[in-house]
């Protein structure tokens, strides 16, 4: 995507390059997620992109139960980033049942369904 211009393209291109960037409104200063052409808080249209801190906290979580032969149980969660935005994701490197609300996590670019995607791992303390 050499000519990435749309919000979704910019986000996806960064992921392809191993980077997580977040859109922030120049008018009100608030971050938002998912990417879009306007700020959902103040409805301004001047949006700039900033590297994500990667620091997050599990806001809520579930274990989707699945038979072992189909891949076994896996985690689906919603993480709140330090920037104040939330995204659906998955915490890896820990058993799905051990992931709890308020767990501190760190973002990384991994793969999900064959695409680069934002994933999380337990933060090192």
């Amino acid at each position: 995507m050499p000519d990435a211009t749309g919000p979704d393209q910019i986000f996806q291109r960064a992921l392809t390059n191993g980077e997580i960037v977040l859109p922030r409104c120049d008018d009100c200063g608030a971050y938002h997620f998912f990417p879009r052409v306007l700020c959902p808080h103040c409805h301004g249209t001047a949006i700039s992109w900033h590297p994500a801190s990667g620091k997050g906290r599990v806001h809520t979580t579930t274990v989707v139960r699945q038979k072992l032969e189909r891949g076994g149980d896996y985690n689906v969660c919603v993480v709140e980033l330090e920037e104040g935005v939330r995204m659906m994701s998955r915490v890896e490197g820990i058993a799905p049942r051990d992931i709890v609300i308020d767990m501190v996590v760190t973002a990384f670019v991994g793969g999900a369904e064959g695409q680069p995607a934002v994933l999380f791992k337990p933060a090192e303390v």
Binding site: F34, H59, T60, R65, V76, V78, A117
Partner: protein, 383 residues
């Protein structure tokens, strides 16, 4: 809806078809059988219908498909799709259209054959782009995460969630129309197969076939039909998000706003309501909506449903047909909250008929706690 529209429209017919398994029938067949049943109840014919309010899980233009199938040419049509709440939402648009003279006979109708067609919950929508890569199981993952957050913040327990399922089954056991009527204990729910923590398969609505239909007219001619009219005293909607990851507070739904405005339009309060019909896609829904609609304080929903308090003989009759958990859940359940509320008021409920019901509440939910629509229905005595 504002107080200005209070009691301006009335339900004069309800009907349903294909409950459970509708072998050999398409979703549109079930839709049409439901329409005929409701029109028969109202003493009307399909040719009398000039307003159609419909959406389905099939096709991108389901209301047009439905009109074509029924052989009618409606002069007013509303196919607004807010998920399972759509059919409660149509009470508002039907009232507006009737009152404005845009139509004279409004038919709200739905049908589905999801059980016999595929055996699983059918959804017409694709997972949202920013959630799909994580493979959430729709819609249960979303409700599971709402339940997890409620348990975290308020100490709600899995036993309290199970109480909701047990109460729904207790109502269903008296309803010959209900699909699941076998005994169900707290232990059965807690010991059932976990699907998405903390929800087991018994915390989830049924997957059935079925359709429902409602016929509405202006209040000034509502007494000209065979059944006692049920008046729409108030109805209101609010939507807060589409994707669960965008829900601001996982423990508070827009039912707080839809409920407050519906009560305001009707000029009544939660304490006046005699029977409550809620869209219980999952057990957490009932707890959230009882709180948000004002039947108990936020965080106290778990205690409110404990020990059979919403079961037959409890303090508040909730989901008297057995709900989506035990009666019927053909993909979108919203219309059945209105049908059961109307039948309780008319006095011809299929299961336990409560005595002297004048005021009932029906509440629809759409998407993943996204769209909330509340309606308050009343008998002639409430006008």
């Amino acid at each position: 809806m504002t107080p200005k529209l209070r009691g301006k429209s009335a339900i004069v017919g309800t009907g349903h078809a294909g409950f459970g398994e509708a072998h050999g029938l398409t979703a549109y067949d079930v839709m049409a059988q439901s329409a005929l049943a409701a029109l028969g109840d109202a003493g009307l014919k399909l040719s009398d219908v000039d307003g159609l309010f419909c959406t389905m899980m099939e096709d991108s233009m389901p209301a047009l498909m439905a009109a074509e199938y029924l052989g009618i040419q409606p002069r007013f049509i509303d196919g607004t799709m807010t998920g399972g709440s759509s059919f409660v939402n149509y009470l508002t648009s039907a009232t507006m259209a009737l009152e404005a003279g845009l139509c004279d006979v409004a038919l709200i109708v739905y049908g589905s054959n999801q059980r016999t067609a595929s055996g699983r919950l059918v959804t017409a929508s694709r997972p949202p782009a920013y959630e799909a890569p994580y493979n959430p199981r729709y819609p249960i993952s979303a409700y599971a995460m709402a339940a997890a957050r409620h348990m975290h913040e308020f100490g709600t327990t899995r036993e309290q969630l199970a109480d909701v399922a047990v109460a729904a089954r207790a109502w269903a056991q008296h309803n010959p129309e209900a699909f699941e009527r076998g005994p169900l204990s707290l232990e059965d729910v807690l010991g059932a197969r976990m699907v998405a923590d903390p929800l087991t398969v018994r915390d989830c609505c049924l997957v059935t076939d079925g359709g429902g239909a409602i016929v509405m007219v202006r209040a000034d001619r509502a007494k000209d039909f065979p059944k006692a009219p049920v008046y729409v005293l108030g109805s209101a909607a609010e939507s807060s998000h589409r994707q669960i990851s965008q829900m601001k507070d996982f423990t508070v739904t827009a039912a707080r706003e839809s409920g407050a405005r519906a009560f305001d339009a009707a000029g009544v309060s939660p304490a006046d309501i005699q029977v409550v019909e809620l869209y219980d896609a999952f057990t957490i829904n009932t707890i959230l909506f009882l709180e948000d609609l004002g039947f108990c304080a936020k965080g106290e929903g778990g205690a409110f449903v404990e020990g059979g308090r919403i079961a037959p003989g409890g303090v508040l009759p909730v989901n008297t047909n057995g709900g989506g958990l035990s009666c019927v859940h053909p993909g979108m359940y919203g219309i059945f909250t209105v049908i059961e509320a109307a039948r309780q008021i008319r006095g011809d409920a299929p299961g336990i008929q409560l005595r002297d019901v004048d005021l009932a509440l029906a509440h629809g939910n759409g998407g993943v706690l996204s769209s909330q629509v509340t309606a308050i229905l009343g008998s002639q005595n409430t006008l």
